[in-house]
């Protein structure tokens, strides 16, 4: 295999693995802040228990997020040296801002958050929790700014030519607020909230089903369900805004996301389908003119298709981009439906009797994770063949000095280490969940649901 392909596989693998964890930390962090604030406000022990329990799970995801994140930073230099030289002036300042304004806040207060329960006053501890949460939010801002600059470069000029060409910053705020950054930051934040919220829903649904920690779990489930519902609806708006931005700023990418080839024609909106790149056909179920309507509120408006771009400027994996994008949307819609239905049942006070629905919630924890992953796959593969849209091609960006063997060596190493890390993560997560938020005592027994036989006997 060639160096470029290996470098891409390594980057994709390490970033995909990394991206399991930071969204969980952000999402869990949001609810930790909520639980702990409620504890300070109401002095009710159940909120304290919830805050402590989720802090333990948070510690696990955060720790893995930090170390796998260092890998990402180093890989820019090791595997993408040409890219680093090209964008360092612009991209670097976003990364430096992330380090100094976000990571320092996050990791500085982490020690107090995890180990300081008995050492500082409750409100100081709450401030530390908020510090860590804000740090993780800021971190998302800066890294998405950097990535958005790669999608829609702004506030720069090019200096030098050929191998010595560099992008240099001319307007910092134009770089920060480049055309796609704001909506993408919100999209990423909400994706992270969903990842955290649905994990919390999953665990507490599981407890309710098993009849353990029932009272506390119902409390947590209700609060988190409301957060999840608001977030999933918000994601509809944010996702739409983001797609609108792609239509405006990266037409070739939009065409790939939607499998649209002919520029003159109004574009259909596929709910699902299969793209045949050779025949330039999509087989599937579509709303005729639907994409035109979404972009321009008119079913007849033509949308720029892939054929408007020279072959070498189009993403090569159109079907993959199409599938990833559509899977993300399908999951988003499912999450909206599920959380709204959950809220309806909550309102009718029937939620906790629907065991099948609780089981659905148990497994839904995986879906936001999948949506986050495939959403990024679509975003990054859809930007190809560019690493910086319209400026620098991916096949020119990797390190010239590094051999394919070196990358193969490190790729295998990362696969082994990350497999081990993932197994340990799942094992410990499972163990913490099984162990539960506190030691169970006799009185909890009253809250356990009656078995079928007993309830039949009682009701006669």
């Amino acid at each position: 295999m060639d160096t470029e392909l290996l470098a891409r596989i390594q980057f994709a693998f390490t970033i995909a693995f990394h991206y399991i964890y930071p969204p969980l930390s952000i999402g869990i962090g949001l609810l930790m802040v909520f639980f702990e604030s409620m504890f300070i406000k109401t002095k009710k022990e159940q909120y304290h228990i919830l805050a402590k329990f989720w802090t333990k799970i948070f510690a696990l995801t955060f720790g893995i997020g930090v170390v796998t994140g260092i890998v990402m930073e180093f890989e820019f230099g090791t595997n993408w040296a040409t890219y680093s030289r090209y964008v360092g002036d612009v991209f670097g300042s976003a990364l430096a801002a992330e380090g100094i304004f976000a990571f320092a806040l996050e990791s500085g207060f982490l020690g107090v958050l995890l180990f300081g329960w008995n050492r500082v006053k409750p409100w100081v501890h709450l401030l530390s929790t908020i510090g860590v949460f804000l740090g993780s939010m800021f971190s998302a801002i800066w890294i998405v700014v950097a990535n958005s600059w790669q999608q829609t470069p702004a506030g720069y000029h090019i200096v030098g030519e050929g191998l010595n060409a560099r992008a240099e910053i001319t307007d910092f705020w134009a770089m920060v607020f480049n055309p796609s950054s704001v909506e993408r930051i919100i999209h990423v934040w909400l994706g992270a909230f969903l990842a955290g919220a649905f994990l919390i829903l999953s665990v507490h649904a599981y407890y309710i089903l098993k009849g353990r920690y029932v009272a506390i779990s119902k409390k947590a489930f209700k609060i988190t369900l409301i957060v999840a519902t608001i977030t999933s609806l918000g994601q509809l708006v944010a996702g739409h805004a983001s797609a609108d931005g792609v239509a405006k700023n990266q037409p070739a990418k939009l065409a790939a996301l939607e499998g649209h080839f002919e520029t003159e024609a109004p574009a259909d909106l596929y709910l699902f389908g299969w793209v045949d790149k050779e025949k330039q056909e999509v087989t599937g179920l579509a709303i005729p003119g639907g994409l035109s309507f979404l972009i321009d509120q008119n079913f007849e408006t033509p949308v720029t298709g892939l054929n408007a771009f020279p072959e070498e400027d189009r993403p090569s994996q159109i079907n993959a981009v199409f599938q990833f994008y559509h899977l993300m949307i399908a999951i988003g819609m499912f999450l909206i439906a599920l959380s709204l239905y959950g809220c309806y049942l909550l309102w009718r006070k029937k939620l906790f009797q629907k065991r099948w629905l609780l089981w659905v919630f148990v497994f839904t924890a995986l879906l936001p994770q999948i949506a986050n992953q495939v959403g990024w796959f679509a975003a990054e593969m859809g930007r190809q063949p560019w690493v910086v849209y319209g400026l620098l091609r991916t096949d020119q960006a990797f390190s010239q000095a590094v051999s394919a063997n070196q990358i193969l060596f490190s790729l295998i190493l990362f696969m082994l280490v990350y497999s081990l890390l993932f197994v340990l993560f799942v094992y410990l997560l499972n163990k913490k969940i099984k162990h539960g938020p506190y030691e169970e005592s006799e009185e909890d027994d009253d809250n356990r649901p009656l078995t079928k036989e007993i309830s039949q006997a009682v009701t006669g």
Binding site: A59, L60, G63, V66, V67, G69, I70, V71, E73, F74, F76, G77, T78, N79, A81, T82, S84, R85, V87, G88, G92, S93, L95, A96, G99, I100, F101, F103, A104, L105, S107, G108, F109, L110, G111, V112, L114, F115, G116, N118, R119, G131, L163, N164, R166, E168, I169, F172, S399, A401, V402, Q406, F409, S410, L413, V417, L420, L421, L424, L428
Partner: protein, 345 residues
């Protein structure tokens, strides 16, 4: 060219990066050092205390690496790209060990089985040793120079070139320095038998450090002439190595008086003075080419634009005090001897 306090921006940024790496070396230095001693402690209780001495702070310490790396990337992108792609293998190994070390810290206490804890103890200690060593190896390669060819691209012979005699020497010197530094940190955090054992280990560590430091310094003076050029052309700078020697000598003196707080201060000062020496030896170069001096990379060739550096200097002016503030707050919260509770590792 823009200036700040009479220094041009690339020079200012050189100082910022140097400051960040010194901070990183002082902080992660003591926790790598503490980890390197880990297997010398035999009792479960001692190992737990030693691990929890770094427990609340190791993560924050590693952030200095992330910020230092980001600062290098942002301010000297050409240096970042050239250095990291030239030393591909040591950097990848560094990443693997940093992951293993984090896993070991996180997971050791999660199961009570003896084999589980032994396994992670070994993992923690070996990765701490390797990390300190690899940092030294990278430093040695930077000091000695790398086979850089045209366009600042590495043109050397590949896989194991980074393991040259000088790099091995600086690797061992860094490891011994961090071990002495880490032992003093642990002395501040422990009591009883473990404390007594550490006073003994610290003496050994200091001797190993002084011997390897002397050998490395001699080798540097004899075989790497480009590093002493700045001193020869500006003899006033000889005050710096002199101060460094005094600072080093102060550490065992204070340790024998059992004044470990001051000893820790002076071992931190030693770490930063050594970084100052490195900075003087390099400036204005960042990376010396062993192929041809004309391929060497200096701060002006490596630097981002003045516009970008200006923005980032502003970040440092705003963010720097904040970072110091958080760091101070955390160390204050966990000051004094380690107390294990149900939140400990």
């Amino acid at each position: 060219m823009e200036t700040f306090l009479g220094l041009d921006y690339p020079t200012c940024w050189f100082l910022v990066v140097g400051g960040l790496f010194s901070g990183y070396a002082i902080l992660d230095g003591f926790d790598f050092g503490a980890g390197a001693w880990h297997l010398f402690f035999k009792k479960e209780q001692s190992r737990r205390i030693a691990l929890n001495a770094v427990g609340p702070v190791w993560d924050g310490n590693e952030v200095w690496l992330v910020i230092g790396g980001g600062a290098l990337f942002a301010g000297f992108p050409v240096m970042y790209a050239t250095l990291f792609s030239s030393l591909y293998v040591p950097f990848m190994l560094f990443l693997v060990f940093i992951i293993f070390r984090a896993i070991a810290i996180e997971f050791r206490g999660k199961e009570p089985m003896l084999w589980w804890r032994r396994l992670w103890d070994v993992c923690y200690s070996i990765s701490s040793i390797m990390l300190a060593f690899l940092l030294g190896v990278v430093l040695g390669n930077v000091l000695q120079g790398i086979a850089i060819g045209p366009n600042f691209e590495y043109a050397g012979s590949g896989f194991f070139e980074f393991l040259n005699p000088y790099a091995l020497m600086t690797g061992v010197t860094t490891l011994t320095l961090f071990m002495a530094h880490g032992a003093i940190y642990l002395l501040l955090k422990t009591e009883g038998r473990l404390f007594a054992k550490l006073t003994y280990l610290l003496k050994k560590g200091m001797i190993f450090f002084m011997v390897s430091f002397a050998i490395t310094s001699l080798y540097t003076l004899l075989y790497i002439p480009h590093l002493s050029d700045d001193f020869k052309s500006n003899p006033a700078l000889f005050i710096m190595p002199l101060l460094t020697f005094m600072s080093i000598a102060n550490v065992p003196r204070l340790a024998s008086k059992r004044n470990y707080k001051m000893a820790f201060f002076f071992s931190s000062l030693t770490v930063s003075l050594l970084m100052v020496l490195v900075a003087i030896e390099l400036y204005p170069n960042l990376l010396f080419s062993t192929l041809d001096p004309k391929y060497s990379l200096d701060i002006y060739e490596a630097a981002s634009s003045d516009k970008s550096l200006g923005i980032m200097l502003l970040f440092v002016a705003i963010g720097g005090p904040l970072v110091l503030g958080y760091t101070f707050f955390v160390y204050r919260t966990f000051r004094g001897k380690v107390q294990l509770d149900d939140h400990s590792y």
